[in-house]
C-alpha cells in the first residue's frame, strides 16, 4: 500500500486517535517500511522535545514584576465600578465562559459576545432606517 496512506496516520497514532484495527494495520506496515518507521520515530522525538520544553520555566525580563505593578497601580481596585466599556466587555466575557461558543458549519466556533455585538449593531441599523423612513413619511404626508 502507498506510504502516504500511512504517513497521514502517523500523527493520528501519536495523538492516540487510531482505533485498534488501524493501529494493527500501521504496525504491520512499519514492520517492513523503514522510511515510515523512521518518520514515526523522528516525529515522536519532536513531540517529546516540545513537551520537555513546556516544562522549562523561562526567566521573565529584569524589572518585569515592577513594570506590572506600575501598571496595576493605575488600575481601579478589583471589583470596583469600572468604565462602562470594560464592564460590558467583562460581562460578555463571563457570558462566554458560561455559554461557551456557538458552533458554525465547517467546525468553526465563535464567541457568544460576537453574535450579540453583531445583533445589537444590526438592530441599531434597522431602528435608524425605520426612524428615517417614518420621518420621510411624515414629511411627505399631504396637508
Amino acid at each position: 500500500m502507498d506510504c502516504s496512506y500511512f504517513r497521514e496516520r502517523i500523527n493520528r497514532y501519536i495523538d492516540g486517535e487510531l482505533g485498534y484495527l488501524e493501529v494493527a494495520e500501521l504496525q504491520g506496515h512499519l514492520s517492513f517500511c523503514a522510511d515510515c518507521a523512521e518518520e514515526l520515530a523522528h516525529t515522536g522525538e519532536v513531540r517529546g522535545a516540545l513537551a520537555a520544553w513546556g516544562r522549562a520555566e523561562l526567566a521573565a525580563p529584569p524589572g518585569f514584576a515592577e513594570r506590572v505593578m506600575a501598571a496595576v497601580e493605575a488600575e481601579p481596585l478589583p471589583g470596583s465600578p469600572r468604565p462602562l466599556g470594560r464592564a460590558v466587555n467583562d460581562a460578555l466575557d463571563r457570558l462566554d465562559e458560561i455559554l461557551g461558543r456557538i458552533p458554525l458549519p465547517g467546525g468553526r466556533t465563535i464567541p457568544v459576545k460576537n453574535v450579540l455585538g453583531a445583533g445589537i449593531a444590526a438592530a441599531a441599523v434597522i431602528i435608524q432606517l425605520e426612524r428615517r423612513h417614518l420621518r420621510r413619511a411624515r414629511e411627505l404626508k399631504p396637508l
Binding site: E45, L50, A59, V68, M69, A71
Partner: protein
C-alpha cells in the same frame, strides 16, 4: 502526556486564602507576591505562543492586568495556578490576534535555574526555539498549544477560532516542518 504541562504548572504553590483576599481587596504587596511567583509561567506561555521577547513581555503584562481585574471571579474549584495558566493562554491568544507582531531576531530565552529540560539527542534549546521561531504563525500557535502545552484539539479550535480539522492539519504540518528542520540541524 496530553495534559502533562498543565499539571506541571499546577504544582506551583497556590497563594494562601489570606494572600488572595488581600490581593482581591487591592493590596499591592499581596498582588506583587503573586506576580513574582507566577511571572515565569506567564512569561513562558507568552513567549512560546508569540515567539519573540518584546511581544511576550507586553502580552504577559496584559495577562497579569487581566488577572488583577478578574481576581474577584476566581473560585477555588481549580487551583489558582491552573486558573492563571488558562487566563494567560487566552490573554496571549487575544494579543496575538489583535496585535501585528514585530519582527524579532532569534534569541534563546534564559531559563530559571534548575529548569533546563532534556530535549533529546542533538536538540538544544537554541535549535528548538529557532525552529519554532521560523514556523509560519498559522502552524506555530496550534503546534505550541498542542505539543508544548498538551491542549486537546477541540480546545485549540475554540481558542483560535479555527475549524477542528484545520487545527489538526496545522499541527501535523508544524510537526513535519520541525522534524525536517531539526534533522537538517543534526546533519550539519
Amino acid at each position: 502526556m496530553s495534559t502533562s504541562n498543565l499539571h506541571k504548572w499546577a504544582l506551583l504553590p497556590d497563594p494562601t486564602p489570606s494572600e488572595l483576599s488581600r490581593a482581591t481587596a487591592g493590596d499591592a504587596e499581596a498582588f506583587k507576591l503573586i506576580v513574582e511567583r507566577y511571572q515565569g509561567m506567564v512569561y513562558s506561555v507568552a513567549y512560546n505562543v508569540l515567539g519573540n521577547f518584546t511581544d511576550a513581555e507586553d502580552a504577559a503584562q496584559e495577562a497579569f492586568l487581566r488577572c488583577y481585574r478578574k481576581l474577584p471571579q476566581y473560585r477555588s474549584e481549580a487551583t489558582f495556578s491552573t486558573w492563571l495558566f488558562r487566563l494567560a493562554l487566552s490573554s496571549t491568544i487575544d494579543y496575538q490576534r489583535r496585535e501585528k507582531r514585530r519582527p524579532d531576531p532569534v534569541e534563546t530565552p534564559e531559563l530559571v535555574d534548575g529548569t533546563a529540560p532534556q530535549l533529546g539527542e542533538g536538540i538544544s534549546a537554541a535549535t528548538l526555539t529557532a525552529a519554532l521561531h521560523d514556523l509560519p504563525e498559522d502552524y506555530r500557535v496550534p503546534t505550541v498549544l498542542r505539543d508544548i502545552y498538551g491542549l486537546p484539539y477541540q480546545e485549540i479550535a475554540d481558542l483560535t477560532g479555527r475549524p477542528l480539522g484545520t487545527v489538526k492539519v496545522m499541527v501535523h504540518r508544524g510537526r513535519a516542518s520541525l522534524r525536517l528542520r531539526l534533522r537538517a540541524e543534526r546533519e550539519d
